[in-house]
């Protein structure tokens, strides 16, 4: 590997020490109950939430092992403990299983595998003289109710959004896809967290090669020592992206089950990650990030107009500040003569250069945005008002910036908010700075050079083998209309 790649790799993601999960190797369940319990207690020493409850099943000593807080204690008592204590016959495993009043159970010979299930919130039943563990599903853990997604809200259409529980999220998708073609495969990612990840797709519509590619990438992550934990879907997103260093998102994130269903119907693949209310859709192209669920719940003409506005917003949010700098610094001749005096007057009152003016304003706006985004709503509003007064009025009156620039920066900021996907909006917002710099140094030509770099980068990118700029480059005329015009649903 070249030295520069090694340096970059070390800089981007430093090598981590090898991670030992403790449950990787196979370990058979012993016939001796005490040996099993000793082993488990040794493995889970100093685990305050581990419960090891001994009981007598007929003539046979047994133990229930589970984690407090992840299980339904009431169901354990009524569905497992009480029936087992009243069990008269315990000569075989079948006798014991027939006593359990919970329908969802399985048996395992590998203790490590059973303990992995216990870590997911299931109860382990071990009996003296039986080298098999019974795993009973009584999962119950604290979770919030299904609610409207905060960052993916729509004016009309369904209001339910994903939550942190993967089973509930799968149910939300399944409710909308009542077909046997809907498939969901489970994988566990994160060497330590062993987070369940569901690969969802429609068997009859998905591209099999794409599915194999997704599975291959996720399988690679299963044993990836650099990924000890998966706490959110973003971890997966970052890990499976074709171009992780690119600021542009290559995997679509959504909190809405209706959106993921729409993409599954189009033959894409959805990824649900336990513990994350954000589902992922692959592959995703640049223009997918400019569409919202709302587009499909309003009249097609309105939706189409809004799409055009969003495309315009991409240009405005990235380039309008740079254009201001380029025009006021180099290209005065393009301004109509009736306007040129006004521009010259306002510029004349400002002691700073166009570049300094624009940079100060852009940074101030970004600071304001960053400051208000995590504040409580009421405080955020106050900061917003103060910011607007300081930036909008006081700065102009003090002669720090010109009124024209305030308008320009405000338009650019508002246009940035018109881009529905936060990841993409952030990436595009960041482009303002190189564009302003290029406009300052090389005028409008510099801006074109930066745009050349951006477009070249975008055209070179792929999202799981699919060109990032499709259906524009390469051109797919049939799919083109869904970018600019929301198609009518005609039967």
């Amino acid at each position: 590997m070249p030295i520069w790649k090694q340096v970059l790799q070390n800089f981007v993601g430093a090598q981590r020490p090898q991670v030992d999960t403790g449950l990787e190797a196979k370990y058979s369940v012993q016939k001796n109950l005490n040996k099993n319990l000793e082993y488990i207690e040794q493995l889970f020493a100093d685990s305050a939430d581990l419960v090891c409850r001994r009981l007598q099943v007929g003539q046979r000593p047994a133990a229930l092992i589970y984690l407090k807080g992840l299980t339904n204690s009431d169901l354990i008592q009524r569905g497992i403990a009480d029936p087992l204590l009243n069990c008269k016959r315990s000569t075989s495993l079948q006798d014991i299983l027939s006593c359990i009043a919970v329908s969802d159970y399985s048996t395992m010979d590998d203790l490590h595998q059973a303990l992995q299930q216990m870590l997911d919130g299931r109860v382990l039943l071990l009996c003296q003289g039986i080298a098999t563990a019974v795993v009973v599903d009584v999962v119950k853990f604290p979770k919030r109710a299904v609610a409207e997604p905060a960052t993916d809200a729509a004016i009309s259409g369904p209001k339910d959004g994903f939550i942190e529980a993967i089973e509930d999220n799968l149910a939300l998708v399944r409710r909308r896809l009542r077909t046997p073609h809907f498939k969901s495969k489970t994988m566990r990612l994160g060497v330590l967290s062993r987070t369940p990840v569901l690969i969802c797709y429609l068997e009859d519509r998905v591209d099999k090669q794409l599915l194999a590619e997704v599975e291959q990438r996720l399988q690679r992550l299963q044993t990836e020592e650099d990924l000890p934990k998966v706490l959110d879907s973003y971890y997966v997103m970052e890990a499976i992206s074709d171009h992780p260093l690119s600021p542009f998102p290559q995997v679509l994130q959504t909190e809405r089950p209706d959106v993921i269903v729409a993409h599954l119907v189009e033959g894409r693949i959805g990824l649900l990650v336990d513990g994350s209310p954000v589902a992922l859709v692959v592959p995703a192209a640049f223009f997918d990030f400019l569409q919202t669920a709302d587009d499909y719940y309003v009249h097609p003409i309105f939706a189409s107009v809004v799409r055009w506005l969003r495309l315009l917003a991409v240009f405005v949010t990235t380039s309008v500040s740079g254009l201001y700098v380029a025009v006021t610094t180099f290209h005065y001749e393009v301004i109509p003569s009736r306007l040129v005096n006004t521009v010259a007057q306002t510029r004349g009152q400002v002691p700073l250069s166009s570049f300094s003016e624009a940079i100060i304003m852009e940074i101030t706006i970004d600071l304001l945005r960053e400051a208000t985004i995590r504040l409580p709503t009421k405080v955020g509003q106050v900061i917003g008002v103060v910011g607007a007064l300081v930036v909008g009025q006081a700065a102009v009156q003090a002669g720090v910036v010109g009124p024209l620039l305030v308008i320009v920066v405000a338009i650019a900021t508002i246009a940035g908010f018109a881009i529905p996907n936060n990841e993409q909006a952030t990436a595009l917002r960041m482009l303002r700075f190189p564009l302003i710099l290029a406009a300052t140094v090389l005028s409008g030509f510099g801006m074109i050079f930066v745009w050349t770099a951006i477009l070249t980068h975008l055209a070179s990118m792929d999202s799981l083998g699919e060109p990032y700029l499709r259906p524009i480059a390469p051109l797919k005329p049939k799919k083109l209309k869904d970018i600019f015009i929301r198609p009518f649903r005609q039967v």
């Binding site: 393009v334 030509f445 050079f449 060109p467 480059a473 390469p474 051109l475």
Partner: protein, 369 residues
């Protein structure tokens, strides 16, 4: 060698590659260059150049169709043997590199003359670096995708430039044959230079999955010819023949007469937007240069060729040459390039025919099968 099974480009991408390989900076001075030799006969000389290009296209197509599944590098070795093939590809690559250098060099004085007296030359090196790093290195598919992306802007500008928004004086059309057919024929030479970059067709031929390759190439030649002819007609018709000959950049003088509500002077706006087209053409010829040089030095690491070309092209753009000397070099080079690039496809085809060499089945044979 790239994996051909994965490298596929569409017919539309072939059109973009060929059209954008042709139309670039030439349009800024073409009207003057041809009118200097042919007078108003430029209006005939340019379409005739299109016909010449079509003849060249037939040659390229015959050759490429004889080796449909092989690249230029592969069948050059088969037909010419290793030594001659290396020489052929080296000349091809160097000529393409020269075009890649000359495009930004030709554009640079235009920018400095019309917009920025102090624009550093590094401004033009940036897109060249981008081309080498992001496009050429990643193969034909990404190159085609990038060119296709830029093409939308270039195509829109081409169509816009062909709209006669300013009144045109048609009197100049009458003496179109005044200077005689000889001058018209001489006018083809400078016009041919505006068509350089078309050779990418030969390079990308095996990657195109379209049965109408010839017609796509012909459509691109037709579009370029139409664009050059119409703009020349509008420029000379609006500025007059005398002023066109006096103007350094006649297209800019013509654009300067536009007056829009938003932009009072449209020339710089067009010029800025046109840079996409210039970069587009640079990408195409640079791709040709890299492909040929990789064929010349198959054992050299491709990345080394990329870096070498990048260094050469940057040096070529930055190196100061006296304008008279440069004009002499360009004049000589143009003739050599035209003769070489126009003639060798026919010669290779003839050689293949005489030696009975053929590589794989042609599209027509496949269809028949």
């Amino acid at each position: 060698m790239q994996d051909k099974h994965r490298q596929v480009i569409t017919g539309w991408q072939l059109f973009c590659l060929t059209l954008n390989g042709v139309v670039a900076t030439g349009v800024f001075s073409l009207a003057r260059d041809v009118a200097e030799v042919a007078g108003a006969g430029a209006l005939v000389a340019i379409p005739l150049t299109g016909v010449v290009m079509l003849v060249k296209l037939v040659g390229i197509h015959l050759l490429a169709n004889r080796f449909p599944e092989q690249t230029l590098n592969e069948y050059s070795y088969q037909l010419l043997g290793p030594v001659l093939a290396k020489v052929y590809l080296l000349i091809y690559g160097l000529l393409s590199l020269a075009v890649a250098i000359s495009i930004p060099r030709a554009h640079f004085p235009l920018v400095t003359a019309w917009a920025l007296g102090l624009t550093p030359k590094i401004a033009f090196m940036a897109p060249l670096a981008i081309v080498c790093w992001n496009v050429v290195k990643r193969g034909v598919v990404v190159t085609a995708r990038v060119v296709e992306m830029f093409n939308y802007g270039g195509l829109a500008l081409m169509l816009l430039l062909m709209v006669p928004v300013i009144p045109v004086d048609l009197d100049f059309v009458r003496p179109v044959f005044e200077q005689g057919p000889a001058s018209i024929m001489r006018g083809i030479v400078p016009a041919l230079f505006a068509f350089s970059g078309f050779d990418v067709y030969l390079i990308v031929f095996p990657y195109v999955r379209s049965k109408r390759k010839f017609w796509i190439g012909a459509a691109a030649v037709g579009m370029a010819t139409l664009f050059y002819t119409v703009t020349t007609f509008l420029i000379i018709g609006n500025l007059g023949l005398e002023f066109t000959l006096l103007s350094t950049w006649p297209l800019q003088s013509y654009l300067n007469r536009f007056s829009l509500a938003v932009f009072e002077r449209a020339d710089v706006v067009f010029l800025i937007a046109w840079i996409f087209q210039v970069i587009n053409a640079t990408i195409v010829v640079m791709f040709v240069a890299v492909s040929c040089l990789q064929g010349t030095f198959p054992r050299v690491r491709p990345s080394f060729i990329h870096y070498l070309l990048l260094a050469l092209s940057l040096a070529g753009v930055a190196y100061p040459i006296y304008s008279v000397l440069e004009a002499q070099i360009m004049g000589t080079y143009s003739l050599v390039a035209i003769a070489f690039l126009g003639g060798t496809p026919w010669l290779l085809w003839l050689l293949a025919l005489l030696r009975g060499k053929r590589g794989g089945e042609s599209d027509a044979q496949k269809d028949a099968a």
